[in-house]
Assembly symmetry: D2
Homo-oligomer: 341 residues x 4
């Protein structure tokens, strides 16, 4: 780290910091200028660096403390170039080809789920999304079928051979959800539910980690690091829109984060243009743009009759729109030298 001292820092102050850091194992290098003194402190094996930084910044004679290294390791692109994740039904995510996961926001009952699963399969979708547990802003909204919904998802898999991605919202439910799902989805609101991250890390099945509404790219990668640290490197990052001042779109899908994540991390990156825009008419253009920015896959809300969908109707594609999206994305993928699974 680099420590910038206040103009009024005394020699005693300087010595006190140097002693403290040397004692912790840091190697110190001092630059004394006319107006400010700067210390470089290098100590690659020191733990709790961010705490030490905050402590130094609490001193009145310290003006600023700047980190040198990025705080994540296992998910960093310095470690390796790329991770490919093979899902139960053989689909590979993060490889040459783009993957499309689609389905309704929520499991809406067994018949409805089987109907949508068969129809999506006919369109060529290999991974089915639908939530059994639904985190909802209002306590008066439908909260999902829970465990019964998980069983419906298992049946949809058995009947269609599609892989299942579904959300887990509670650390203690992780095993139960994993018994029915091929990919565990961690929602935006839970991106920093650290117990949940650890629980999903321990299970070892692929995890799709949505970026929080107001999470920086660094915080997102640190959340992925929580999962990887438990021994599970099979993590996908999912950009689904951040919260900004703009109200025309539900969220602001941040494709800069997609392009950035591909340079910072070896993990596959998925784009969710449905939550990212909140408007079905913007889903296809932003799906195209996501793939052009470098995404490895898409997570899209689709329903045979969006106007009857239990939730997220405004951002849900009907099946004709989904076919058009598929066609458009295939062309963009080809322009990127990639295929569409």
């Amino acid at each position: 780290m680099i420590i910038i001292l206040s103009p009024d820092a005394t020699q005693k102050n300087k010595k006190s910091i140097m002693d403290r850091l040397t004692h912790m194992g840091y190697e110190i290098n001092l630059s004394e200028g006319k107006e400010r003194t700067i210390m470089g402190a290098i100590g690659s094996n020191v733990e709790n660096k961010s705490e030490v930084m905050a402590q130094l910044m609490s001193l009145t004679y310290v003006e600023n403390v700047v980190p040198i290294l990025r705080p994540y390791k296992r998910v960093s692109r310095e470690l390796k170039e790329k991770t490919e994740i093979k899902v139960a039904n053989g689909v590979v995510i993060g490889g040459k080809n783009i993957v499309m996961m689609a389905g309704p926001c929520a499991v809406e009952g067994e018949d409805a789920l089987l109907e949508v699963a068969h129809k999506l399969k006919a369109i060529g979708v290999k991974i089915l999304r639908a939530g059994a547990y639904k985190p909802r802003t209002s306590p008066y909204s439908f909260q999902g079928f829970g465990e019964k919904g998980l069983k419906m998802l298992s049946r949809a898999r058995a009947e269609t051979g599609m892989a299942i991605i579904t959300e887990v919202i509670e650390a203690t439910d992780a095993k139960k959800v994993a018994a029915h799902a091929d990919i565990l989805q961690i929602g935006a609101r839970n991106m920093q539910n650290f117990n949940l991250l650890k629980a999903c890390g321990k299970i070892g099945k692929p995890v799709l980690l949505k970026r929080g509404l107001s999470a920086t790219i660094e915080e997102w990668l640190l959340a992925a690091e929580y999962i990887a640290k438990e021994g599970n490197p099979r993590v996908m990052l999912c950009e689904r829109g951040i919260r900004t001042f703009e109200t025309y779109t539900r969220n602001t899908l941040d494709l800069n984060a997609v392009a950035a994540a591909k340079t910072l991390s070896h993990l596959p990156v998925i784009v969710d243009p449905s939550h990212g825009t909140g408007r079905w008419e913007l889903v296809t253009p932003m799906a195209r743009a996501g793939v052009a920015a470098g995404a490895d896959g898409l997570l899209v809300e689709a329903h045979p009759r969006p106007e009857e969908a239990i939730s997220d109707a405004r951002q849900t594609l009907n099946l004709n729109h989904l076919k058009q999206l598929k066609k458009d994305v295939k062309a963009i993928a080809a322009a990127m030298g990639r295929g569409l699974i």
Copy 2:
């Protein structure tokens, strides 16, 4: 709700919506203008209004749908004017007097905790804050003493008679934490951890609900509604800063939300100027401002030696600063016709 139709909506489209809403129990009122048709749909007993709104908005011939009523009820100021919450040691929150809760960010060991507890008690603090469970951005940071920390808090209470506020981060831990705490704190990252909200609602002890980093005021009140709906109306709202583009402060303490919450809800409102600013030198001015905006209390990080604090050192007051804060806040409270507990 109000439905604004597109210019190209046909008579058949209009009839289809009217039939659907009438069937659900809505009473419809139609205004046909030259450029647009507007429908007013009134149905005070209809459930799942937000779903119905989203479904209508998914129709191509609907331009916009606008709600009429606010979506929260139990925490609304239309219900009652004010809630006073009596804590175990007799302190009343939300009454005439301002309450000050203070302590270190984390429980740092038994001796350290007892030292700070006794020192804060001597300054006149009646409610001690300290975290046993610490949600941390990096998996490599100190994560708290957990259950051992809870026991240390119990001992601090037994020795000093202070009430204890501490964070619960997992629904399944709520009972365990409640066995040691007088006020359950729900952190900003967990404001929409709905299982946790429900679990805290069921226990019935006072709950302090921090506003999420990117939560709107309405979402904050809906989160409080989750707790109240379980039968626990003893909820305090805590403003702790929102995430904006400004980087000089760690967060942007939003006192507008404090003034607004006092007009929208009957719940007491607490201000946390430590997380709200992230800089100890701004804590006292913003504590004064919070009380002037109408807050009922303060939650402040204080430590005998901030430069040794395990976390949040940059925003932690030392004890002399805390005494000054107390004096300043007392004067502002008096100007508001209130006292300081």
Copy 3:
């Protein structure tokens, strides 16, 4: 507009509003429900609607007022489907093919400008960008060559046949800049400099209007409406990144706004991935994504030696990178059924 009255509005209050609006030429339609009364007020010829709305909202017995129509007209897609803008050297913007404008941030002297112009021409760039007037955050930064810079741009045009786009920062300078430029650029900081908008509208040359750092899509379109209202419909909208909490990128390039503007307006939309990201390594992926989202062109900072650029060096492509960008964008354009000019 729709007016939602408070529960405590009296009959006298209602009559007072109805009289007022009727007097202004509105036609009123009343829906009286159990909990709220709603009024629909339709008056397509009434001026100053937003003022009337604000006045009504200042009444204690009015809870909310909601507009019905979008506030812009001339730039709206309800008027026409698409505008094509022909620039002096024959290039058409907003037509079938994608246009690429490139150049250094600032005019850096005559020799330097001619060097970059010839080199960009060789790569196939038809429109040269470079600023003679540079709005700079710090008064101690280089502020541009001003009028001398304009003359250098004219010479670059004469020598290469490229069209020139350059920024105008002051209404009183608009004519002078227009004498040397083929496209007038209005910068993000000036998006709501209404005198400047009007002055550029009066000149009649094509205008590129950058979106403000914190401007909503609606405000952006209203700024374009200012130009169109002066009789100049030859406006391009340019998305260049909004300000959000994310600090990894300089701004957050908002491609949702590109897709949305194409559905709301008939104007061509240009993407500036250089300012939008602030990092040269993200410029090419975001240029590709911009075209895939539906943009009609790109505005890119390029320099033979970015590390010597007077400003914006961090986000400037070198010429090899620009060639790669061109190749990539051409492939994406083809996938969209479009060419690259």
Copy 4:
């Protein structure tokens, strides 16, 4: 500045940077660690530091560049502790006592202006605010009386002895406005209209500089530096709300910036709770909070009949509310050891 090199920077790369910086007059200090090399470059007399930083960051072998000194000088609190500004009618801003400026958003005609001026004078207001030039989001809204409005303001001053604050929106108008105004107001949209800043700096009359909707505190101070650099140190900083995701309030009044500006700068700080909240019912609590945070004055919209105000009606106080605000603020000021002018 501090330069952090990439792990793959070669000895040749290091030498190249060191030569370049040494040549510019920097003194270099090198720290070579196992994983990264850090350079401290100190050069207090070097101009265009931010350009040099950006150039270095464009090099692939540079990972980050961090500034050491704050980029503003004349407005910095390192220069002096406090600036008091004496206005024409003898009122001192930035001294012991709090100043209250009030009036309608816009000049609405001579009779209306004189009415409000006399009524505000009777309440004790010493500085009258009202806009002759009105920047408006929509081209279809009232744009102000312009020069005729300025003359009405002069008449209001002559009749009441109040000082006048009014907005200037164009550099070329600055002299004309200054002939009628005692304080020149620079609006939020114009905070980075650098020609306007310079023009107001040259005139020498007191300037009130509103913070831009998405301006950081540093950018705000740099804008003030533009004015000071022209030889005019009589600048007041005015916080009027920033743009965030919250929509309940029109803007988010950022009192953290008030407290911070008082520690970073010697300039007086004014709070505008009217634009800051957009809701008249929140104006008084936020005015109190602003003074408690350390503000030196208030800028408030007030009107005898807000429901007839030409603009900003929703956030305008009526005269009874203004009297209550005055009483409340006086009590808070007293608690701060200050009076109310």
